[in-house]
Amino acid sequence: MGVVTDKRESLHKAISAIDHGMTVAIGGFGGAGFPTSLVSVLEKRRLHGLTMVSNNAARLEPMIESGMVARIICSFPFGGASDTLRKSIQNAGVEIRLLPQGTLSECLRAAGSGLGGVLTRVGIGTEFGEGREIVEVHGKKYLLEPALNVEVALIHASVADRWGNLVMRGTARNFNCVMAMAAAISVAEAAEVVEIGEISPERCDLPGIFVDKVVKTA
């Protein structure tokens, strides 16, 4: 009694929430805020048909190589990508769906916030506007980009507590917050898991209500 809300889980148990064909968001921008421990366990599972939402493909290379990935929704797939990776993506027939970075981020936030989509001017007149519904507001045209829900999000934080409250450092917040919001199940790894009360209510970068599982990194 009294300590029932305990979201702490083992790495493997947390990752077992992911199944074939699911849509999985991976936080991080470059190495900052990238959930290295969670992804390294996910890589070892023999899954297929995953749709990955991740700003970048380079860090998904092992999963692409092993044929787990059917689709990547991202803004910057080839940032830091080797020619080998480009070829793997082509050979494996991985579909790349490109969204402007701010649209990607906002569509995740919209999904987590119960909003239907995003009305943005970014992409108008370019291929990012092609096939999109146009909505006019006060005489100005906007692209309608639907909210982007994901089934599981894997994210990274510096500090967590058993309620899932998270503190992040530096530029590590990036996509981690919006992906956790957008996910049916969000899994956060943290190097440090502290007692309830140690994270100041004024300095909680992501309230635990958006987090379902907390994993301590090795």
């Binding site: 809300t5 119960g114 309830i196």
Partner: protein, 209 residues
């Protein structure tokens, strides 16, 4: 004997499962936190930007910057957090909150809710009620079964302006606890000494046992 406002609140409190996050509206709902059984971890959310809200202890001095949606001084428990309005309503609309508990002027057979305006008079305004009632996973209503003059408040259709459509799961009144499945309502419990006929007479739609 009909339940008092505090007894309604206690009954609601005892029905909230361990670990749930709950948004509470003004009126009877504000009494709920004080009746959560010892050791049960229920987290209260208030739309003005606080999660882990707890009543002010008697020895605690109120902080004007830490209030609930009813503008009362409150405190925050370990594990709680403060955030701005856009994040708060992301929690609400995004379905991250397990339960909302609100007062009602009228509830319809369909689960529609009116709780912010009679046709003659706007109470405070809509506030966050429409967001909460549409956004939470479950909505419970805490109310007196009938108006002071005996007028029914549980009706085939609401006659007052609506807050949200088809959202009420349960009604906790002074007479009974009722539960809705689509347009069918059944009694969960009757208050001591209240019989089904009495509840049926006080209710504008059919009630099953």
């Amino acid at each position: 004997m009909a339940w008092s406002r505090d007894e309604i609140a206690r009954r609601i409190a005892s029905d909230i499962p361990d670990g749930w996050t709950v948004n509470i509206g003004v009126g009877i709902p504000t009494l709920v936190p004080r009746y959560i059984p010892q050791g049960r971890e229920v987290v209260f959310h208030s739309e003005n930007g606080i999660l882990g809200m707890v009543p002010l202890r008697e020895d605690e001095s109120p902080d004007p910057e830490v209030i609930d949606a009813g503008k009362n001084a409150v405190s925050i428990r370990f594990g709680g957090s403060f955030f701005d309005s856009s994040v708060s309503f992301a929690m609400i609309r995004g379905g991250h909150i397990d339960l909302g508990i609100v007062g009602a002027l009228q509830v319809s057979q369909n689960g529609d809710l009116s709780n912010w305006s009679t046709n003659e008079r706007m109470i405070g305004g809509i506030g966050g009620a429409a967001d909460v009632c549409s956004g939470v996973k479950q909505l419970w209503v805490a109310m007196m079964h009938t108006a002071e003059n005996g007028t029914r408040k549980l009706l085939t259709d609401c006659t007052f302006p609506l807050t949200a459509v088809s959202v009420v799961c349960r009604v906790y009144s002074d007479l009974a606890v009722l539960e809705r499945d689509e347009r069918k309502w059944k009694v969960v419990t009757l208050s001591p000494g209240t019989d089904l006929l009495e509840v049926r007479n006080a209710t504008g739609f059919p009630i099953d046992i």
